[in-house]
């Protein structure tokens, strides 16, 4: 039986009827057309489906849409503002941290969840934060550099 859920996605409130066995990932991609969130393994291993829920990075493939009722969710579509990329997105572009791009939304949201709590992370903390996000292309080094660079940009923007 379908149930009504109400939640906030990228600042906008959304109301919908969902079956209990619908995952948050399916709900975002198929019901709302927010296909920036990727479907990789479906089992919590790859991190392609990462979104931020209540300030924390989570695997949307292992959460029921019903469980997101009343929650605040950020997906990759919610990062750019007024056509301007978020500093983490810009850093990924500038540092060549994107190749095929499949892991990128998840990587960027894991990075955002980290920087929101810990604006000046060490390299080790960055590597831990993205340890659940697999990338088959870049070898991770450029991703780590991009997150380091974004943390500097965000730091200096906040000061100025």
């Amino acid at each position: 039986m379908k149930k009504i859920i109400k939640l906030t996605i990228n600042g906008e409130s959304v109301e919908a009827a969902v079956e209990p066995n619908r995952t948050l990932l399916q709900f975002l991609r198929e019901d709302l057309g927010l296909t920036g969130t990727k479907h990789g393994c479906g089992l919590g291993d790859c991190g392609a489906c990462t979104v931020i829920m209540e300030g924390r990075a989570v695997n949307s493939c292992l959460i029921l849409a019903i469980q997101a009722h009343g929650k605040e969710i950020i997906t990759i579509e919610g990062l750019a503002e007024g056509g301007r990329l978020h500093p983490i997105q810009q850093a990924f572009v500038d540092k060549g941290a994107i190749q095929c791009g499949f892991c990128t939304p998840g990587m960027i949201l894991s990075a955002k969840a980290l920087l929101d709590r810990n604006p000046k992370p060490t390299e080790m903390e960055i590597r831990t934060a993205i340890s659940g996000n697999l990338c088959r292309c870049t070898g991770y080094q450029k991703i780590v550099e991009a997150i380091e660079s974004a943390s500097e940009t965000i730091g200096s923007e906040e000061v100025s």
């Binding site: 079956e19 066995n21 995952t23 393994c41 292992l62 029921l64 934060a129 659940g132």
Partner: protein
């Protein structure tokens, strides 16, 4: 990966959970963080016709200090919250460290301590930590309450003493005495997201900063069908003056407890060597933390 169909329940009180469990029993599964259950349902290993979410039950996810004597940890407390809790870091170190090593951040943000224990994987991260801390598990069903020591909880891989109509409510842990230090070490083939090949938790208590060992507990995971206490190594250490060579010998006694298997994560011989060296290192770390003990 699609989830099969099920009826979803979101009880608002503990009482309601227990009522549902008693009515639905074997047809129902409790949903805590879902990092185990939803995977098993996608893989068709579990096929419950009812899923009962624990999320809306008040107080089940709280870490409650009991004066200075101990702490009560609700069963739906997440690994992330345990790893970040100052109380757990300061006084119950093996649990804080083990929680910080469970999976990757996204998993830790959802995975609960109750799910980790009930799931009863031989390699689970939180079980050995709970064992050295002698956690007492509070278990409830509609018409029975019981308390069980975590050491008596596991029966075999994926099996515990819980009946299908029972809920693990919370864990009660006493604060270890002064001059206690704890440690947790996990060896996996990869750093992140890895199920352990071997894991070791230690809790070591000295009589005083330069005194002998008055109590020590060592628990090993992934080396037998359930996590095990290395009692022989513990007995060997009690009453002794801590030293490098003592810890090394305790490591080799620790191996005697184990019946590791050969699988894709490692051979039996390799696992035995690792048990010895991890136990040795875990004891060293626990000893150093005991020396740093402060009120």
């Amino acid at each position: 990966m699609l989830l099969p169909k099920f009826d979803y329940h979101e009880p608002r009180t503990l009482e309601e959970v227990l009522l549902l469990l008693s009515e639905l029993g074997g047809n129902a599964k409790l949903l805590a963080g879902g990092t185990d259950l939803l995977v098993r349902m996608k893989l068709n290993v579990d096929r419950p016709s009812h899923v009962i979410s624990l999320e809306k039950v008040p107080g089940l996810n709280e870490i409650i200090p009991q004066d200075r004597h101990g702490v009560t940890i609700g069963s739906t407390t997440t690994a992330a919250n345990l790893a970040e809790s100052e109380l757990i870091i300061d006084r119950f170190a093996p649990l804080a460290i083990a929680s910080s090593r469970l999976g990757a951040p996204m998993i830790r943000n959802r995975a609960t301590i109750g799910g980790n224990l009930v799931n009863a994987r031989p390699a689970a991260d939180l079980s050995p930590a709970c064992m050295v801390l002698s956690a007492n598990l509070k278990i409830k069903s509609l018409n029975k309450d019981r308390e069980v020591l975590v050491n008596d909880f596991f029966v075999g891989p994926g099996q515990t003493i819980l009946d299908p109509n029972e809920l693990l409510v919370s864990l009660k842990i006493e604060t270890p005495p002064p001059w206690t230090g704890g440690s947790y070490l996990k060896l996996g083939a990869r750093k992140a997201l890895e199920i352990s090949m071997v894991n070791v938790a230690c809790l070591l208590t000295l009589q005083s900063a330069d005194g002998p060992i008055v109590d020590v507990r060592i628990a090993l995971g992934a080396v037998a069908p359930t996590p095990v206490r290395a009692f022989a190594a513990e007995e060997f250490l009690i009453g002794q003056k801590p030293s490098e060579s003592l810890f090394k010998e305790a490591g080799s006694i620790g191996v005697g407890m184990c019946s590791p298997i050969t699988d894709h994560r490692g051979t039996m011989e390799y696992r035995c060597m690792m048990i010895e060296s991890l136990t040795h290192r875990a004891l060293q770390q626990a000893y150093h933390r005991a020396l740093e003990w402060k009120l």
